[in-house]
Amino acid sequence: MTSTTTDRQTNGSHREGAPTIDLDRVVVRFAGDSGDGMQLTGTRFTTVSALFGNDTATLPDFPAEIRAPAGTLAGVSAFQVQISDHDILTPGDAPNVLVAMNPAALKANIGTVARGGIVIVNNDAFDDRALEKAGYGSNPLLDGTLDGFRVYEVPMSSLTMEVCREAGVKPRDAERSKNFFALGLVSWLYSRPTESTIEWIAKRFADKPQVLDANTRAFRAGFHFGETAELFESNYQVHPATALPGTYTDVTGNTALSWGLIAAARQARLGLFLGSYPITPASDILHELSKHKNFGVRTFQAEDEIAGIGAALGAAFGGALGVTTTSGPGVDLKSETIGLAINLELPLVVVDIQRGGPSTGLPTKTEQSDLLHAMYGRHGEAPLPIVAPSTPSQCFEMAIEAARLALKYRTPVILLSDGYLANGSEPWRLPTLAELPDIHVEFATEANHSDPDGSSSFWPYQRDPVTLARPWALPGTPGLEHRIGGLEKADGTGNVSYDPVNHEKMVRIRASKIAGIAHDIPPVEVDDEHPGGSELLLVGWGSTYGAIAAGVRRVRKRGIHVAHAHLTHLNPFPANLGEVLASYRAVLVPEANTGQLVRLLRAEYLVEARSLTKIQGVPFHASEIEEAILDALGVTPQPGMELQSPVEEAS
């Protein structure tokens, strides 16, 4: 293993002569056909590692096509996970181990593997046809392509079929279990406990006894193969990470977000209404929430994106926590209704799981390119709050925050997650329910305005003097009948008004209401070990958090002082942001777009912020951030000071 170190030999071994070597971390990448079950395999390996106590970070990477032609590069599906004995921030730049189920999977992924890394191939799949489909002119297992890697050829298909035949499983069906053989083998290689996986298989395939049997046999066979075949000279272990005391679970961003919405409704004491239309990679939120009707959750799969948000807004008018979830082109379609919600001043949470664009773009790849759309993608003067989680587990917290702002200020709020956060997972220290914020709001129940004749009436646009929020009066409340709509309203009464001066006033009030939120959100925190002494401030938002923080750690290992601020609130910005930016000589803004936050920062604060961008549908690598920092500071790495520092992420 090149880039993972502290190779302490231990006494523990599974096999005589095969020692177990301790590693502080390892990056494993499972790759196969879309139909090979690589996502399931990777997820299970992650879960078992998380349960074992490692820190984990994952990067699922799959094609947009459900089943692209088998054996082709387009059909390759991969799952990368980093497991570690210490706190890590990213799924790792370069895998130490690649499991390739066929030639296409090898070809598509070998370029990412660390030099000297382990490559485990299912050599059963390397026949002439498969090689040709993958575009190999000659067999890479024979022609020297893999020189410099430690290649293990394991006939996974035939070994799986062999053990399944004994159980009477048809060869065709048996072959499908080969991903469990791979899981077993990698489980042995990294000394993962087996019982929990066997139990999990039993539960997951309980209704398909034959598949259950085949998968269990394949898993055990893979594990035993590692143990007994004298192929591997050693195996490894990654000890549990030290973490804050508490109860942990492994969670993906979309699951955390769904649970956050349920929690928000609970904390607001409102029913949750989700209006949504299926779209990658947001659909999992619709799926997850649909399961939890016993939480008072109404899920509505609408006829289109517009109806999804429309129904959510209608439900909000009726007093529900209205939510819509979408991605990519779906965001465009919701723009008009978001504008209406801004004008109606009703609470609404709009969740955008960003993906590569424009148009259909890259449905399964991550990008941060909707920030300016969230800011400005509506006609007229239509500001709204924008929040963005930084990690998968933070999606929970930010869902509650989005709901809090929406309910308190009666405004639509856009939550910007992305494909990487949505599908990536990490261990999450569970909050206790008592820790969750109370976001309860009061509905209007009585008249709020005295008329000159001494009677009283209800003015739907009579605002709270502090928040500038208007009262939320629900249909069903006697005496507060009122009409709202998309036409401009007279200040106070809410009646239709074409008065020019009133219009300017209303535009400014709506803007002030949103701007005022700056004082109701936490100030941005700066991670700076040498306040006053750091030469550069990195400012990020959203899913770049892990890569930026890891890059910063690497640079600090070189004795260079840099600071990192990560924004969770993009509109308004935290009240102290201007001050923070002004206190650094240089500012660097890494983003997975062409430089959207940097434009906002420059425009808002007149700072000379530099931009670092990557628009490849994949997250930044820590090494890229490191390089950019060094470059920004004019530091040339000295010989022996190569960028791939061996202890890159140890904190």
């Binding site: 349960l51 973490a243 492994d250 009707k293 016993n294 209608g314 008009e336 069903g476």
Partner: protein, 341 residues
């Protein structure tokens, strides 16, 4: 929301303080009057009544009602009203729309609201023209219609809203017109009491951009000969003396006949509760446009589970099966591990 007796109201109670701004002589006035006169008779509460509209002349309707209301965006009223109606089954939700709003930009939402059978009373003001944008042809304008945007005549085949709704298997479909308040009130009443989606097409005169579009059938002198009243359980007949009728031919086609020729027993007996919408659809196709004898009244009224009720029942079943949602347990549902202090 309370179960005390609903207070007696009059038309005035249902009228908001906003000045009505339709063109003088517009058919919308009589529809508004019919609704405001009907509501006191329905035993409903102002606070539990909501009017949701999209964009267009008709869409100003909610502003004139002293109830809850939302003037939303073009075409989207059925979607917005769906969210409101399913999450608040206690409310009486009305949608007011026009032919451009409901059938052009919002056609998708309309058919899906009907298909799902959401508890909405949808009033579709059909004037066969775009009024608010000053006179372009609409999806119900007749082929050849000369308007500002079709100076050489429209090339398009118009929608028949009743046929469309029946095609979407709407559970309640009716037609009425702005010249007959009594008929409107009766039709709206039926629509209101229907649990599920009820669509009422209202032939409405736009006296500014499409004056007299329905005159040939709704004019006082024309009605007897040109309107075919549908009465449940009765033979379908019309004419001053009921001398004309509708017969189902042996070849399965509907035909206009003289009662004296065929005998009243040969006439088609209207059955609005017929499960198969086929016959109702055929009735909707009797006239090629509002110049031939045209059926009015309730084409179809069948029972089917209402969408919001079904959703609520599903939630109740989930709660029965799994118990009231426990957030703490949910957060732990993916398996946990503990790090000791």
């Amino acid at each position: 929301m309370t179960d005390t007796i609903v207070p007696q109201t009059t038309r005035k109670d249902w009228t908001s303080d906003q000045e009505v701004r339709w063109c003088p002589g517009c058919g919308d006035y009589s529809i508004l009057a019919a609704v405001q006169m009907l509501l006191p008779e329905l035993g409903v509460r102002r606070e539990s009544t909501v009017f949701v509209s999209g964009i267009g002349c008709a869409a100003r309707f909610p502003y004139y009602m002293n109830t809850y209301g939302m003037h939303s965006i073009h075409g989207r009223a059925p979607a917005i009203a769906t969210g409101l109606a399913v999450s608040r089954p206690d409310l009486d939700v009305w949608v007011v729309s026009g032919d451009g709003d409901a059938l052009s930009i919002g056609g998708n939402h309309l058919i899906h609201a009907l298909r799902r059978n959401v508890n909405l009373t949808i009033l579709l003001f059909n004037n066969q023209i775009y009024g608010l944008t000053k006179g372009q042809y609409s999806p119900t304008s007749e082929q050849g219609k000369v308007t500002k945007s079709t100076p050489f005549g429209s090339l398009e085949t118009p929608f028949n809203p009743v046929s469309l709704a029946l095609g979407a298997e709407a559970t309640f479909v009716a037609r009425t017109h702005d010249m007959d308040r009594k008929h409107m009130m009766e039709t709206f009443r039926r629509a209101h009491f229907h649990r599920g989606a009820a669509l009422v097409e209202i032939y409405q005169n736009c006296n500014v951009f499409n004056d007299g579009a329905f005159e040939a059938i709704t004019g006082k002198d024309a009605r007897a000969e040109k309107l075919i009243p549908l009465v449940d359980g009765e033979p379908i007949r019309f004419g001053a003396e009921g001398e004309h009728g509708v017969m189902l031919d042996a070849d399965g086609r509907l035909r206009l006949v003289e009662v004296s020729d065929v005998g009243v027993e040969s006439l088609l007996v209207h059955d609005e509760a017929r499960e198969d919408p086929g016959l109702a659809f055929q009735l909707s196709r009797l006239a090629r446009g509002p110049f031939e004898p045209t059926p009015i009244g309730v084409f179809r009224a069948v029972e089917r589970p209402e969408y919001g009720d079904a959703m609520t029942a599903q939630m109740a079943r989930a709660e029965e099966a799994k118990g009231v949602g426990d957030l703490g347990a949910l957060l732990r549902s993916g398996g946990t591990w503990t790090v000791e202090a």
